[in-house]
Subunit: 379 residues, 2 copies
């Protein structure tokens, strides 16, 4: 007998309430019954996004919503800024380039946050810049960018701010309207506690003004058509019905707990995780701007990071993530987003202690768990 | 207490085995466990598509796979043929035009199949035509097109044949390789008995040759990247994990029943449905080329078709579909695709008899059911 604990940065565990809602007999989407569900979902999304802007739901992974942001705002040869510093920041650059858009790339060392002033400098020098693309939580490095400050900068310019909040939404603080973010994209399989398969996009009036002049070709992700449908609580194409029904359930749970309480829970779990790994003598990969959604830890030298992840999954049933791209084998990532509790953190730290010792990297048993317990004790 | 019977042309009912498989704790997709599932799914899809070609799975509705076909094969200003004759044929034209591709549109009266010779004529006159887009089963009209004959024509030309088999796959005969279809796209929420949210595309070597020269911009639906991932049993972006796991279950059911038996079951249910509505004095909307996946029936004059659909759903728990676009209120559609049995057909015909009488259109009670029973009796 073995239990599975999923502490990966997407998919995250599905609450039983959500799984059961999705297992009910499916309904047709062009019915008043579905429209009522969809209306509730849109309302709940606006709460989670902290926005009065239009919110759209696509049947796609989060990358689909990223592409939707690019193709609906821009035309080939448009100038934009993309903030790199991880795999998902790079994705903004790749999507823009695929559509002939010309990014000024801000290259941030992996593990560091972008200095907002670098964005201000480019915006002041090049008045043609139409959009700034960044991540809020860079899942690949465990870094959180200061999007609040970036929004203060973009709001003084004609450029719109587009934020990948895929692994941040419903985990860490995000105030779309109060901060002045124009476009936010998100996915289902992170803080929203759903399986992957639907994605989201909110868009401000400032960004809407770009949509009609944008010349990038688009059909599946066309926001103009999506807007006409949304006004009738409909979607242009068949929605992912069961995932939307699961989302209603998840949004009810989120509203019941309260967004600020959710942010606090994530902050507490993140602090406990960081304190625990430090107590074990490990190093954080992103010590200066660690995200409260996922903690990236350096693999101690001499240890095989991929094997550590495999050992934890195969022997202890605890799934964490390894590093991606240039970080493969060099870091491991403990996600604490979505349907995750402090008790889950105690368990992963405990299993980590055993696994590290088993692999020959001696750490004092119980020392990490103690550090985490102390954080939760005061929380 | 009320039971729901879903006889709409997508979503179709989900078998309990599939619903339960999807309700199990989610797993991470970058694991050997998921790769083994994905490998089984790809193998099963090749069986259902009747092909040795590469098969791809997207997290999107069927329209996403249609867009994938267009953007991966073509460049702006390319000449193609699109076969219209319903809402989904028109979608091919719309997607092509969104990407600056120039379609020669073959306009077929709604309710009729295309005459394959019309395609041959254009191909012989205009040697620049790179692709022919058609539907196999046109869901909006209940028409089946003679794709086998169309493929005989395209195989003599440089043009590739792209078939929308979204509502045909695993319902009516489709032999991708034996017929010589280059690209087949399909969706999950029809014959495959899954919720909507994933789509599929198979592609022949003849069509692959177009992919590298195609200049339409693309990222999320880029087959080049998808192919690099597929070779490692992976996907470029997070897959819709639970739907893929449900698909494995559904494909096992399909393989157990056998594709030819499934085609026979659908043909029998379609024949029973047609005989039943004719026995009630109703008229088929597509009498010359009726699809065995969905039967479109003319709403008798004086009757409100939308109200008939509503009455059946709200009072009897039987969901059928109304007409779309120009057929709104003029036809109703009984789908018999996927997880549907002859007994379901008996029930929908029975409820239809009651509802028609209730709305003032007098039909002899039991006469339609008798006609259906006779078909099943000999089947």
């Amino acid at each position: 007998m073995r239990k599975q604990l999923l502490l990966t940065p997407g998919p995250t565990p599905i609450p039983p309430e959500v799984a059961l809602a999705m297992a009910k007999p499916i309904i047709h989407h062009r019915t008043s019954e579905y429209r009522a569900i969809f209306e509730e979902v849109i309302k709940g999304l606006k709460y989670v996004f902290q926005t009065e802007n239009d919110c759209f739901v696509f049947a796609s992974s989060g990358t689909g919503a990223m592409e939707a942001a690019v193709v609906n705002l821009l035309s080939p040869k448009d100038k934009v800024i993309t903030v790199q510093g991880g795999k998902f920041g790079e994705r903004w650059t790749e999507i823009c380039q695929s559509y002939g858009i010309e990014p000024s790339v801000i290259d941030v060392p992996w593990g560091e946050a972008v200095e907002p002033e670098r964005i201000a400098e480019i915006l002041e020098k090049d008045l043609r810049i139409k959009a700034v693309f960044t991540t809020l939580c860079e899942t690949s490095t465990g870094v959180v960018n200061d999007v609040k400050k970036i929004a203060q900068i973009t709001s003084k310019h004609k450029a719109v701010l587009v934020v990948d909040a895929i692994s941040a939404l419903a985990s860490i603080e995000l105030r779309t309207d109060a901060w002045g973010i124009d476009v936010v994209v998100a996915g289902s399989q992170k803080g929203l506690m759903l399986p992957p398969g639907i994605s989201f996009l909110s868009i401000s009036p400032k960004a809407w003004a770009l949509v009609n002049e944008a010349k990038c070709p688009r059909y599946y992700f066309d926001l103009r058509e999506a807007k006409r449908s949304l006004d009738k609580m409909d979607t242009p194409f068949t929605p992912a019905v069961t995932l939307v029904i699961g989302l209603r359930e998840a949004l009810q749970m989120i509203q019941k707990e309260g967004l600020e309480n959710i942010w606090k829970r994530h902050a507490l779990m993140a602090e406990a995780t960081r304190k625990a790994v430090l107590a074990l003598g490990l190093e954080l990969f992103a010590p200066h701007a660690p995200s409260d959604a996922v903690t990236a830890v350096k693999v101690p030298s001499g240890l095989d990071g991929e094997n550590l992840v495999k050992l934890l999954r195969q022997k202890y049933g605890v799934s964490i993530a390894g590093g991606q791209a240039e970080l493969k084998g060099k870091i491991f990532r403990i996600a604490h987003m979505g349907y995750i509790t402090p008790e889950d953190i105690l368990l992963v730290i405990s299993c980590l202690e055993i696994a590290l010792n088993e692999m020959g990297y001696k750490v004092p048993l119980g020392k990490g768990v103690k550090a985490a317990e102390e954080v939760f004790g005061k929380g």
